[in-house]
Symmetry: C2
């Protein structure tokens, strides 16, 4: 077991399960009597020596339970890419000076594929400069687009929220006798995992969504119109990814206005459903509306997947244990067992960082507007079970480092 203290930070977009993973890291540190610091706002907290001591807060088990069911990032987040250490080493020197100041020898970074770039660079720097800090990445993202893992912590809860919301929206659509079209826009820039998960809405009472469009499959406007024409459904529900593209690779959301780019160079998208709404309204003249699930799909925790939350705790704990064992430059992941439970595995961070895992061909239907049974079999186990929610004054009780 390594000497020294722990630090942990969270990075990237919020999820319903990223705090469950933080729970697991804290439990891992506690189980061997370690001190653990939480860096505020991701790697910025380390750079700015802005740490919260987590031991006194989470000695109270009730707080740990609240943390597990609190959405978004308890420690705050950031979107920041470290510079190349060979051309700009200043920030690295600051980071490791602050680690040394607090005797931090194990650093757990919970984040998505951009955040794993940080794990990659810090662990390489630590080795090269003999700093003796174990740097371990634990994945999170509702996008499910990380390499080297069956799925990502946070995806199951978002998938459950999307499927539940679509099933409720389908009921809302079904009440009127007139024909209608409802388009639901779902997150997932370049990977359609979460949009695909809308298929889990289907049950004995609804076949909605009747059409599903993923960003992996280019969709011409004429095919879109034909698909709607060929679907004999009175109250149609269409699930579209925010990032659907036409046959020329042009984003639907760009058809009306030019979008900007974030600092990782990703296109900032919005409004693919609105564009589809306008196309179909003009073509069919029916009542047509669009619903953007927006940030609620990543921050709603009141109906999270218990499977996701429990597995998120486990992977956090495993990350802490790997760091304790002196491992570094790795990212934790899940592998699937035959009974659809999951074992925790480790990947080299270079295999994960800056790469995206798209929805493979065997998961998207040949007709270009649906998913396959294979995808349903893959996704269903991830959304099973509901946590017990502690409420106060009728709404879920959360825990927070500061009052906002």
């Amino acid at each position: 077991m390594k000497d020294g203290n722990f630090a942990v930070a969270q990075s990237g977009g919020p999820t319903a399960a990223i705090n469950a993973t933080l729970c697991g890291v804290i439990e891992g540190a506690f189980s061997c009597g370690k001190k653990i610091y939480g860096a505020r706002n991701g790697i910025f907290g380390v750079v700015n020596d802005d740490f919260a001591e987590l031991n006194p807060i989470f000695a109270d088990m009730n707080n740990l339970q609240l943390l597990k069911n609190t959405p978004s990032a308890y420690l705050g987040s950031c979107r920041y890419k470290l510079p190349d250490p060979d051309s700009d080493s200043e920030v690295y020197e600051t980071v490791f000076a602050n680690f040394e100041k607090h005797n931090i020898k194990m650093f757990i970074y919970i984040g998505g594929n951009d955040s794993m770039d940080t794990v990659n660079k810090l662990s390489a720097y630590s080795i090269k400069h003999n700093k003796g800090v174990s740097v371990v990445g634990v994945p999170k993202t509702i996008d499910n687009d990380l390499m080297g893992t069956d799925h990502t912590p946070g995806f199951g809860s978002a998938a459950k929220f999307v499927a539940t919301s679509v099933s409720e929206i389908a009921r809302d659509c079904a009440v009127y006798a007139d024909k209608s079209i409802t388009i639901v826009e779902i997150m997932g820039r370049n990977a359609g995992w979460l949009t695909a998960a809308s298929a889990l809405s289907r049950s004995s009472t609804t076949r909605a969504p009747h059409l599903i469009y993923l960003p992996e499959k280019p969709l011409s406007v004429s095919k879109l119109i034909d698909d709607v024409k060929n679907s004999n459904v009175r109250n149609m529900v269409i699930a579209v990814s925010e990032g659907i593209v036409d046959e020329n690779g042009e984003y639907y959301s760009n058809m009306e206005c030019l979008a900007g780019h974030d600092e990782f160079g990703h296109a900032q998208l919005s409004g693919s459903a609105k564009v589809v709404e306008n196309i179909l309204k003009k073509e069919f003249g029916r009542k047509t509306r669009s619903v953007e699930l927006n940030v609620t799909q990543r921050c709603s925790s009141h109906f999270a997947s218990l499977t996701d939350l429990n597995d998120s705790v486990s992977i956090g704990k495993a990350g802490a244990n790997a760091a304790l064992d002196g491992e570094s430059g790795i990212v934790m992941g899940y592998s699937r067992n035959d009974d659809n439970t999951f074992s925790i595995i480790k990947n080299k961070v270079s295999y994960v960082a800056n790469r995206e895992k798209k929805v493979p061909d065997n998961f998207s239907a040949e007709n270009g507007c649906d998913v396959t049974g294979e995808f349903i079999d893959y996704c269903l186990p991830l959304i099973i079970g509901e946590p017990e929610i502690v409420t106060e004054n009728g709404i879920p009780k959360h825990i927070s480092l500061k009052l906002n």
Copy 2:
């Protein structure tokens, strides 16, 4: 006790509790061994002789329990205003011929203020033409804008969903170190009840929403900008009604495009949050985004208010009992007891139909951007408790008359 059979129908926009009220009506009919028909798509079902026999379906208590937790209108809905019977009596003759055909002597109509117009006209026609049909209205609307009742069935569940979602969105907003503004758009055309309910999001971990704008209080663009300027909040959350207006009574949503009208002459609105977003983005240059809760606030039942659901069952049952007692031309309502439980009362339908109850002055703060403690005391009891949700394949199980 009156002879004959029951009919029941649902009308207007969906809610999470309108089927709980249907449950109550069915229970009321069952408890005295009556036959009960469900008219499909509101009054249209009666006109078109399109009835479902509810006794065989709901003899199974499990189905009745599922119905209580299924959102939206099980029987379908309509938005249809009956003509003046003196100028056009044909539809009335059809309605009462179909009632007679099935020996229907009690008709329960569950709906909002427009639907109560139907109750008013049908009961008056029945009396005038000696048809002997008891016509009783049972209210429902997430808008809470009906006269003669402490609150409306369905409002509590929508209020709970809004407060919960805003508290989760507030957590999502709080993660980044940069200043930001998030605008949440909430339903309520002319009455700000549901927008006001966003205040129930406030807890020991968040003061969000930091500003609340109701349609009852005109808001000039300069006051909006001043309010934001004066609020010293890093990650600001602003709750706006879809129907907020400026000092000239102009809808914010009309500032960019002209909206149409539905057949009751109501302006069709959308996008007040988007307009506010654009105003504040231009003024402050901070990260600014808007979230439209859209139809999910009226059709989400997976975190409904148990108080609302139970009281919705009771008011449906009371409506059935009133019809059995031969009462007609009335609308059921709630009156509040000292201990914040509710007793069921009756109003003459003419007192309720076609009228709107707005948020009174003592519920909205003098600063024009908040609610009062009096409003919190009023609203809080309505959102308490959560139903036990039966799930199938990880999502809530619903019941449906037909596969959509």
